[in-house]
Amino acid sequence: MGIGSMLIVCIVSLAMGSVITLQTALQIESGWIPAWTVGFVARTSIVMELCPTIISLLLVGNLGSRITAEIGSMRVTEQIDALEVMGVNPASHLVLPKVLASIIVNPVLCIFSIGFALFGGFLTVWLTGCISTYNFIDGLTYCFRVYDVVYALTKTCIFAFVMSSVASFYGYRIEGGALELGKASTQGIVVSSFVILVLNVVITNIML
């Protein structure tokens, strides 16, 4: 679960890192601001905000809809009823492994995402020459705090829990057929995204 999203996460992260670096470099033109600021701002934005939040939102659309569709189709085809009749608790059998898998895998994807985004920024600097690569790397390493990574991973874990549990909830409570499955999938994405965005503000307030 989630490993299949690696390619799209890498592509989005490369592009994201590249754009944030380029835009920061273009905004900072004053001679009073040191050139390494570009790397510093890019790193801070990527590690603390863009990767945990944007990648989590991306995974809501990718993994969340898949979870809703999988559990929902099991509900529609009576597979969940079959589990209940057998005496197996469908919630713990179907939902818990997905929630745990998301909480484990999404932070790993977030770390890869941070790596690829920073690499994307470096590539942009190297290819465009907007600042020197030395200054960029200097900015990336300036005042680096491990707490920033802890903060990013904590956010990712919470967002992963929200994504998988909301998606499972919408899949589990489906009544009807294919039409309802599509609606539930969309509702799951909308609600998860909204909750993630609200929680992002709350967690930022608490942790920073």
């Binding site: 009576e78 597979q79 009749v85 057998m86 005496g87």
Partner: protein, 250 residues
């Protein structure tokens, strides 16, 4: 034996089942029949615990299912097997994994014991060389038989079939009916079959409960169903031109 005492079920304000009283006997094929929307699937879901009736009791050999503590309910569930209308086989598992799934959950059997049990259940339903296939690779009739094999895995006392012949051709329907009768008599199960297939009603129904608009309208067996003078039952049985012709010969 399963006893149904005064079972009523509501969905919101709407009453679906009206004080149903009937019995399903051990070692016999017990049918619940009725038109679509009459409440027979709701009754079956009340029997297996997928729905809780607002009023009444469902007794399994004297044990009131819906009021049992969770632990005892789980033990009783292990004595049940159910075959759903759409088979409800787990898509992500092979047929053998589907059959061994309840064994994985509730028994301490070794892999070889589970494999042997799966093969035995598959032999019971005349399915061979399908162990490694996925449900999507089977025909409708084969899926139904695989679902029966899964239901048999834990050696159930109570077997439930929800419209086992729906979507099957007449020949396969006959095979499924024969299989249901054979399993019931060989394993002495209390079998409850929810159907509106007239051939099943006439050939395998040892006790028959006819549900009409949520009421138990008639109870009998296949021996006397064709000669009953109950008007609602006759309207159901003799609805088709073929059966109307049959009635004239009786």
């Amino acid at each position: 034996m399963i006893e149904v005492n005064n079972v009523s079920k509501y969905f919101g304000e709407k009453q679906i089942l009206h004080s149903i009283n009937t019995q399903f006997e051990e070692g016999k094929v017990n049918l619940i029949i009725g038109r679509s929307g009459s409440g027979k699937t709701v009754l079956m879901k009340c029997l297996v615990g997928l729905f809780s009736p607002e009023e009444g009791q469902v007794l399994y050999s004297g044990r009131e299912f819906h009021n049992l503590p969770e632990k005892d309910k789980l033990l009783l569930r292990k004595e049940m097997g159910m075959v759903f209308q759409g088979s409800a086989l787990f898509d992500s598992m092979t047929i053998e994994e589907n059959i061994t799934f309840p064994l994985d959950m509730f028994t301490e059997q070794s892999e070889s014991e589970k494999h042997d049990r799966a093969n035995f259940c598959l032999e019971c339903v005349d399915l061979v060389n399908v162990n490694k296939l996925y449900p999507a690779e089977l025909s409708g009739g084969m899926k139904k038989r695989a679902a029966i094999a899964r239901a048999l895995a834990c050696n159930p006392k109570y077997l439930f079939f929800d419209e086992p012949n729906s979507g099957l051709d007449p020949k396969t329907s006959l095979l499924i009916d024969e299989l249901i009768t054979k399993i019931t008599h060989d394993f002495n199960t209390t079998t409850v079959v929810n159907t509106h297939d007239l051939n099943s009603i006439i050939t395998i129904g040892e006790t028959i409960s006819f549900i009409y608009q949520g009421h138990l309208a008639w109870r009998g067996s296949s021996d006397n169903i064709l000669t009953s003078d109950d008007q609602t039952l006759n309207d159901f049985i003799y609805a088709q031109p073929l059966t109307q012709r049959l009635r004239k010969t009786l």
